[in-house]
Symmetry: C2
Subunit: 188 residues, 2 copies
Protein backbone atom coordinates (compact mmCIF):
# COMPACT_ATOMS: atom_id res chain seq x y z
CA UNK A 1 0.00 0.00 0.00
CA UNK A 2 2.88 2.29 0.69
CA UNK A 3 4.57 2.35 -2.65
CA UNK A 4 1.37 1.49 -4.46
CA UNK A 5 0.15 4.97 -3.84
CA UNK A 6 2.87 6.26 -6.10
CA UNK A 7 1.21 4.89 -9.18
CA UNK A 8 -2.33 3.96 -8.23
CA UNK A 9 -5.14 6.29 -7.35
CA UNK A 10 -6.43 6.14 -3.81
CA UNK A 11 -9.52 4.08 -4.61
CA UNK A 12 -7.61 1.70 -6.79
CA UNK A 13 -5.04 1.09 -4.09
CA UNK A 14 -7.77 0.41 -1.56
CA UNK A 15 -9.48 -2.01 -3.94
CA UNK A 16 -6.25 -3.85 -4.68
CA UNK A 17 -5.42 -4.22 -1.02
CA UNK A 18 -8.94 -5.39 -0.28
CA UNK A 19 -8.63 -7.86 -3.11
CA UNK A 20 -5.55 -9.42 -1.56
CA UNK A 21 -7.17 -9.51 1.84
CA UNK A 22 -10.53 -10.90 0.79
CA UNK A 23 -9.41 -13.38 -1.86
CA UNK A 24 -6.68 -14.73 0.41
CA UNK A 25 -9.35 -15.65 2.92
CA UNK A 26 -11.83 -16.89 0.33
CA UNK A 27 -10.86 -17.32 -3.31
CA UNK A 28 -14.51 -17.44 -4.36
CA UNK A 29 -15.45 -14.22 -2.65
CA UNK A 30 -17.73 -11.76 -4.39
CA UNK A 31 -16.75 -8.49 -5.97
CA UNK A 32 -19.24 -6.99 -3.57
CA UNK A 33 -17.19 -8.42 -0.72
CA UNK A 34 -14.08 -6.79 -2.10
CA UNK A 35 -15.82 -3.45 -2.54
CA UNK A 36 -17.17 -3.60 1.00
CA UNK A 37 -13.74 -4.46 2.43
CA UNK A 38 -12.27 -1.58 0.46
CA UNK A 39 -14.89 0.78 1.83
CA UNK A 40 -15.92 1.53 -1.70
CA UNK A 41 -19.11 1.29 -3.70
CA UNK A 42 -19.52 -1.68 -5.96
CA UNK A 43 -20.00 0.61 -8.92
CA UNK A 44 -16.66 2.28 -8.25
CA UNK A 45 -14.92 -1.07 -8.40
CA UNK A 46 -16.46 -1.68 -11.81
CA UNK A 47 -15.33 1.75 -12.97
CA UNK A 48 -11.69 0.83 -12.34
CA UNK A 49 -11.77 -2.87 -13.16
CA UNK A 50 -14.12 -4.09 -15.84
CA UNK A 51 -14.82 -7.38 -14.12
CA UNK A 52 -13.54 -10.15 -11.97
CA UNK A 53 -10.92 -11.22 -14.47
CA UNK A 54 -9.59 -7.70 -14.77
CA UNK A 55 -9.27 -7.38 -11.02
CA UNK A 56 -7.54 -10.73 -10.71
CA UNK A 57 -5.13 -9.80 -13.47
CA UNK A 58 -4.37 -6.51 -11.75
CA UNK A 59 -3.75 -8.33 -8.48
CA UNK A 60 -1.44 -10.74 -10.26
CA UNK A 61 0.54 -7.92 -11.84
CA UNK A 62 0.98 -6.18 -8.51
CA UNK A 63 1.96 -9.41 -6.77
CA UNK A 64 4.48 -10.26 -9.45
CA UNK A 65 5.97 -6.80 -9.28
CA UNK A 66 6.28 -6.99 -5.50
CA UNK A 67 7.97 -10.35 -5.83
CA UNK A 68 10.39 -9.14 -8.47
CA UNK A 69 11.30 -6.07 -6.47
CA UNK A 70 11.80 -8.03 -3.27
CA UNK A 71 13.96 -10.65 -4.94
CA UNK A 72 16.06 -8.12 -6.76
CA UNK A 73 16.59 -6.06 -3.62
CA UNK A 74 17.53 -9.15 -1.62
CA UNK A 75 19.93 -10.63 -4.14
CA UNK A 76 21.59 -7.65 -5.76
CA UNK A 77 24.77 -8.09 -3.76
CA UNK A 78 24.62 -11.82 -3.08
CA UNK A 79 28.07 -13.46 -3.12
CA UNK A 80 26.87 -16.43 -5.20
CA UNK A 81 23.93 -17.84 -7.09
CA UNK A 82 23.39 -20.41 -4.39
CA UNK A 83 23.25 -17.71 -1.75
CA UNK A 84 20.96 -15.68 -3.97
CA UNK A 85 18.50 -18.55 -4.06
CA UNK A 86 18.61 -18.85 -0.29
CA UNK A 87 18.00 -15.15 0.13
CA UNK A 88 15.15 -15.26 -2.36
CA UNK A 89 13.53 -18.05 -0.40
CA UNK A 90 13.73 -15.97 2.75
CA UNK A 91 12.18 -12.95 1.13
CA UNK A 92 9.36 -14.74 -0.66
CA UNK A 93 7.80 -16.39 2.38
CA UNK A 94 6.26 -13.25 3.88
CA UNK A 95 4.90 -12.31 0.46
CA UNK A 96 3.53 -15.73 -0.31
CA UNK A 97 0.02 -15.08 0.95
CA UNK A 98 -0.31 -12.47 -1.75
CA UNK A 99 0.50 -15.04 -4.40
CA UNK A 100 -0.98 -18.32 -3.33
CA UNK A 101 -4.62 -17.58 -4.01
CA UNK A 102 -3.66 -16.57 -7.54
CA UNK A 103 -2.20 -20.00 -8.23
CA UNK A 104 -5.67 -21.46 -8.72
CA UNK A 105 -6.87 -18.71 -11.00
CA UNK A 106 -6.98 -19.23 -14.76
CA UNK A 107 -4.74 -16.32 -15.65
CA UNK A 108 -3.25 -17.87 -18.75
CA UNK A 109 -5.44 -15.65 -20.88
CA UNK A 110 -3.68 -12.54 -19.64
CA UNK A 111 -0.49 -12.35 -21.65
CA UNK A 112 1.13 -9.86 -19.29
CA UNK A 113 0.76 -12.21 -16.35
CA UNK A 114 1.67 -15.35 -18.25
CA UNK A 115 4.79 -13.75 -19.59
CA UNK A 116 5.90 -12.51 -16.19
CA UNK A 117 5.29 -15.91 -14.68
CA UNK A 118 7.21 -17.88 -17.28
CA UNK A 119 10.05 -15.41 -17.05
CA UNK A 120 10.09 -15.85 -13.30
CA UNK A 121 10.38 -19.61 -13.78
CA UNK A 122 13.13 -19.21 -16.34
CA UNK A 123 15.14 -16.96 -14.07
CA UNK A 124 14.83 -19.45 -11.26
CA UNK A 125 15.95 -22.26 -13.56
CA UNK A 126 18.94 -20.20 -14.67
CA UNK A 127 19.88 -19.47 -11.10
CA UNK A 128 19.62 -23.15 -10.27
CA UNK A 129 21.84 -24.06 -13.19
CA UNK A 130 24.38 -21.49 -12.08
CA UNK A 131 24.17 -22.80 -8.53
CA UNK A 132 24.85 -26.28 -9.84
CA UNK A 133 28.14 -25.10 -11.29
CA UNK A 134 29.03 -23.62 -7.94
CA UNK A 135 28.40 -26.99 -6.32
CA UNK A 136 25.34 -25.74 -4.52
CA UNK A 137 23.25 -28.45 -6.12
CA UNK A 138 24.10 -31.81 -7.56
CA UNK A 139 24.37 -31.62 -11.34
CA UNK A 140 22.73 -35.02 -11.59
CA UNK A 141 19.43 -33.73 -10.23
CA UNK A 142 17.12 -32.36 -12.93
CA UNK A 143 16.75 -28.61 -12.83
CA UNK A 144 13.00 -28.98 -13.25
CA UNK A 145 12.82 -30.90 -10.00
CA UNK A 146 14.92 -28.40 -8.09
CA UNK A 147 12.77 -25.54 -9.30
CA UNK A 148 9.63 -27.38 -8.32
CA UNK A 149 11.09 -28.31 -4.95
CA UNK A 150 11.97 -24.69 -4.27
CA UNK A 151 8.43 -23.61 -5.10
CA UNK A 152 6.67 -26.23 -3.03
CA UNK A 153 9.00 -25.92 -0.04
CA UNK A 154 8.37 -22.19 -0.13
CA UNK A 155 4.71 -23.01 0.05
CA UNK A 156 5.37 -25.39 2.92
CA UNK A 157 7.26 -22.69 4.76
CA UNK A 158 4.46 -20.22 4.25
CA UNK A 159 2.00 -22.78 5.58
CA UNK A 160 3.82 -23.46 8.83
CA UNK A 161 4.23 -19.74 9.38
CA UNK A 162 0.54 -19.19 8.75
CA UNK A 163 -0.34 -21.93 11.20
CA UNK A 164 1.89 -20.38 13.83
CA UNK A 165 4.23 -23.38 13.90
CA UNK A 166 7.29 -21.32 13.06
CA UNK A 167 8.59 -17.82 12.48
CA UNK A 168 9.37 -16.76 8.93
CA UNK A 169 13.07 -17.03 9.70
CA UNK A 170 12.76 -20.50 11.15
CA UNK A 171 10.63 -21.67 8.25
CA UNK A 172 13.06 -20.28 5.71
CA UNK A 173 15.94 -22.01 7.45
CA UNK A 174 14.08 -25.31 7.51
CA UNK A 175 13.14 -25.05 3.85
CA UNK A 176 16.69 -24.25 2.82
CA UNK A 177 18.16 -27.01 4.93
CA UNK A 178 15.69 -29.46 3.40
CA UNK A 179 16.74 -28.41 -0.05
CA UNK A 180 20.45 -28.52 0.62
CA UNK A 181 21.19 -31.27 3.05
CA UNK A 182 17.85 -32.93 3.78
CA UNK A 183 16.40 -33.80 7.15
CA UNK A 184 18.38 -36.85 8.11
CA UNK A 185 20.27 -36.71 11.37
CA UNK A 186 23.56 -37.73 9.82
CA UNK A 187 23.39 -34.96 7.26
CA UNK A 188 23.52 -32.26 9.90
Amino acid sequence: MIHLCLMLKKSEAKIIEAGFSVFSANPTATLADVAKEAGVGRATLHRHYAGREDLMAALAVVAMQELDDAIEAATEDAPSYTEALRLSLEVIIPLADRQMFLANEPLDHVPEVLEAYTQQLEETAEAVDAAKEEGGFDADVPTAWIVQAIETLTYAAWTVVRDGDATPEEAAALAWRTLQSGLTGGAK
Copy 2:
Protein backbone atom coordinates in the same frame (compact mmCIF):
# COMPACT_ATOMS: atom_id res chain seq x y z
CA MET B 1 -13.69 -48.06 -10.72
CA ILE B 2 -12.77 -51.70 -10.28
CA HIS B 3 -13.49 -52.13 -6.62
CA LEU B 4 -15.93 -49.27 -6.54
CA CYS B 5 -18.43 -51.42 -8.34
CA LEU B 6 -18.55 -53.67 -5.33
CA MET B 7 -20.38 -51.11 -3.26
CA LEU B 8 -21.67 -48.45 -5.60
CA LYS B 9 -24.41 -48.82 -8.14
CA LYS B 10 -23.43 -48.53 -11.75
CA SER B 11 -24.63 -44.97 -12.22
CA GLU B 12 -23.07 -43.82 -8.99
CA ALA B 13 -19.73 -45.29 -9.95
CA LYS B 14 -19.86 -43.59 -13.32
CA ILE B 15 -20.72 -40.27 -11.71
CA ILE B 16 -17.91 -40.56 -9.18
CA GLU B 17 -15.35 -41.38 -11.84
CA ALA B 18 -16.61 -38.52 -13.99
CA GLY B 19 -16.33 -36.25 -10.99
CA PHE B 20 -12.65 -37.07 -10.55
CA SER B 21 -12.01 -36.66 -14.23
CA VAL B 22 -13.89 -33.41 -14.73
CA PHE B 23 -13.00 -31.64 -11.50
CA SER B 24 -9.34 -32.55 -11.87
CA ALA B 25 -9.31 -30.70 -15.16
CA ASN B 26 -11.46 -27.81 -13.95
CA PRO B 27 -12.36 -27.39 -10.26
CA THR B 28 -15.16 -24.99 -11.13
CA ALA B 29 -16.82 -27.30 -13.61
CA THR B 30 -20.58 -27.61 -13.64
CA LEU B 31 -22.63 -30.51 -12.39
CA ALA B 32 -23.95 -30.67 -15.93
CA ASP B 33 -20.39 -31.23 -17.11
CA VAL B 34 -20.00 -34.10 -14.70
CA ALA B 35 -23.29 -35.66 -15.75
CA LYS B 36 -22.35 -35.36 -19.40
CA GLU B 37 -18.93 -36.91 -18.82
CA ALA B 38 -20.62 -39.72 -16.90
CA GLY B 39 -23.03 -40.30 -19.76
CA VAL B 40 -25.86 -39.68 -17.36
CA GLY B 41 -28.77 -37.28 -17.16
CA ARG B 42 -28.40 -34.29 -14.93
CA ALA B 43 -31.49 -35.33 -13.02
CA THR B 44 -29.97 -38.72 -12.27
CA LEU B 45 -26.96 -37.06 -10.72
CA HIS B 46 -29.26 -35.08 -8.44
CA ARG B 47 -31.11 -38.26 -7.50
CA HIS B 48 -27.92 -39.77 -6.09
CA TYR B 49 -26.20 -36.65 -4.78
CA ALA B 50 -28.31 -33.84 -3.41
CA GLY B 51 -26.00 -31.13 -4.67
CA ARG B 52 -22.50 -30.04 -5.40
CA GLU B 53 -21.40 -30.29 -1.80
CA ASP B 54 -22.72 -33.80 -1.51
CA LEU B 55 -20.87 -34.88 -4.61
CA MET B 56 -17.65 -33.29 -3.46
CA ALA B 57 -17.96 -34.95 -0.09
CA ALA B 58 -18.56 -38.32 -1.75
CA LEU B 59 -15.50 -37.80 -3.93
CA ALA B 60 -13.46 -36.89 -0.88
CA VAL B 61 -14.58 -40.01 0.96
CA VAL B 62 -13.68 -42.24 -1.98
CA ALA B 63 -10.32 -40.54 -2.46
CA MET B 64 -9.47 -40.86 1.23
CA GLN B 65 -10.44 -44.50 1.21
CA GLU B 66 -8.31 -45.21 -1.82
CA LEU B 67 -5.39 -43.45 -0.18
CA ASP B 68 -5.79 -45.36 3.06
CA ASP B 69 -6.02 -48.66 1.26
CA ALA B 70 -3.01 -47.96 -0.92
CA ILE B 71 -0.86 -46.85 2.00
CA GLU B 72 -1.84 -49.77 4.15
CA ALA B 73 -1.19 -52.24 1.36
CA ALA B 74 2.19 -50.68 0.61
CA THR B 75 3.41 -50.47 4.19
CA GLU B 76 2.00 -53.54 5.87
CA ASP B 77 5.28 -55.37 5.75
CA ALA B 78 7.67 -52.46 5.73
CA PRO B 79 10.86 -53.14 7.69
CA SER B 80 10.83 -49.75 9.40
CA TYR B 81 8.82 -46.60 9.85
CA THR B 82 11.28 -44.71 7.69
CA GLU B 83 10.88 -47.22 4.91
CA ALA B 84 7.12 -47.13 5.36
CA LEU B 85 7.16 -43.38 4.75
CA ARG B 86 9.21 -43.86 1.62
CA LEU B 87 6.85 -46.50 0.33
CA SER B 88 3.85 -44.32 1.12
CA LEU B 89 5.36 -41.49 -0.87
CA GLU B 90 5.80 -43.80 -3.83
CA VAL B 91 2.25 -45.01 -3.69
CA ILE B 92 0.58 -41.64 -3.21
CA ILE B 93 2.00 -39.96 -6.30
CA PRO B 94 -0.13 -41.80 -8.87
CA LEU B 95 -3.21 -41.18 -6.73
CA ALA B 96 -2.48 -37.53 -6.17
CA ASP B 97 -4.54 -36.23 -9.05
CA ARG B 98 -7.60 -37.66 -7.32
CA GLN B 99 -6.83 -35.63 -4.21
CA MET B 100 -5.38 -32.36 -5.30
CA PHE B 101 -8.50 -30.71 -6.61
CA LEU B 102 -10.17 -31.45 -3.29
CA ALA B 103 -7.55 -29.45 -1.42
CA ASN B 104 -9.20 -26.18 -2.41
CA GLU B 105 -12.70 -27.28 -1.51
CA PRO B 106 -14.27 -26.15 1.76
CA LEU B 107 -14.95 -29.63 3.11
CA ASP B 108 -14.57 -28.73 6.76
CA HIS B 109 -18.31 -28.86 7.13
CA VAL B 110 -18.38 -32.57 6.38
CA PRO B 111 -17.38 -34.24 9.65
CA GLU B 112 -16.62 -37.55 7.97
CA VAL B 113 -14.07 -35.97 5.68
CA LEU B 114 -12.58 -33.68 8.29
CA GLU B 115 -12.10 -36.55 10.68
CA ALA B 116 -10.47 -38.77 8.08
CA TYR B 117 -8.15 -35.96 7.07
CA THR B 118 -7.00 -35.06 10.55
CA GLN B 119 -6.47 -38.72 11.32
CA GLN B 120 -4.37 -39.01 8.19
CA LEU B 121 -2.22 -36.13 9.37
CA GLU B 122 -1.89 -37.61 12.83
CA GLU B 123 -0.79 -40.96 11.48
CA THR B 124 1.82 -39.29 9.33
CA ALA B 125 3.07 -37.32 12.32
CA GLU B 126 3.30 -40.51 14.37
CA ALA B 127 5.20 -42.26 11.61
CA VAL B 128 7.57 -39.31 11.41
CA ASP B 129 8.16 -39.40 15.16
CA ALA B 130 8.85 -43.12 14.97
CA ALA B 131 11.19 -42.57 12.04
CA LYS B 132 13.02 -39.97 14.11
CA GLU B 133 13.79 -42.59 16.72
CA GLU B 134 15.12 -44.85 14.00
CA GLY B 135 17.45 -42.09 12.90
CA GLY B 136 15.59 -41.60 9.65
CA PHE B 137 15.05 -37.95 10.50
CA ASP B 138 16.88 -35.53 12.70
CA ALA B 139 15.13 -35.20 16.05
CA ASP B 140 15.92 -31.49 16.05
CA VAL B 141 13.67 -30.84 13.08
CA PRO B 142 10.05 -30.09 14.07
CA THR B 143 7.67 -32.87 13.16
CA ALA B 144 5.23 -30.32 11.78
CA TRP B 145 7.81 -29.26 9.25
CA ILE B 146 8.63 -32.79 8.17
CA VAL B 147 4.97 -33.59 7.69
CA GLN B 148 4.48 -30.46 5.64
CA ALA B 149 7.59 -31.15 3.61
CA ILE B 150 6.37 -34.65 2.82
CA GLU B 151 3.04 -33.30 1.66
CA THR B 152 4.42 -30.55 -0.52
CA LEU B 153 7.18 -32.67 -2.02
CA THR B 154 4.55 -35.24 -2.88
CA TYR B 155 2.72 -32.49 -4.67
CA ALA B 156 5.93 -31.47 -6.41
CA ALA B 157 6.48 -35.04 -7.54
CA TRP B 158 2.95 -35.27 -8.87
CA THR B 159 3.48 -32.02 -10.76
CA VAL B 160 6.64 -33.09 -12.56
CA VAL B 161 5.01 -36.39 -13.48
CA ARG B 162 1.96 -34.57 -14.80
CA ASP B 163 4.17 -32.29 -16.87
CA GLY B 164 5.99 -35.26 -18.32
CA ASP B 165 9.31 -34.27 -16.74
CA ALA B 166 9.72 -37.54 -14.88
CA THR B 167 8.24 -40.98 -14.38
CA PRO B 168 6.41 -41.66 -11.13
CA GLU B 169 9.35 -43.77 -9.95
CA GLU B 170 11.88 -41.07 -10.75
CA ALA B 171 9.77 -38.41 -9.09
CA ALA B 172 9.31 -40.51 -5.96
CA ALA B 173 13.04 -41.11 -5.79
CA LEU B 174 13.78 -37.41 -6.17
CA ALA B 175 11.27 -36.44 -3.52
CA TRP B 176 12.61 -38.98 -1.07
CA ARG B 177 16.20 -37.99 -1.70
CA THR B 178 15.30 -34.37 -1.16
CA LEU B 179 13.70 -35.23 2.15
CA GLN B 180 16.51 -37.40 3.35
CA SER B 181 19.78 -36.06 2.09
CA GLY B 182 18.91 -32.92 0.14
CA LEU B 183 20.06 -31.95 -3.30
CA THR B 184 23.62 -30.85 -2.64
CA GLY B 185 26.36 -32.56 -4.57
CA GLY B 186 28.32 -33.46 -1.46
CA ALA B 187 25.35 -35.23 0.10
CA LYS B 188 25.22 -37.84 -2.64
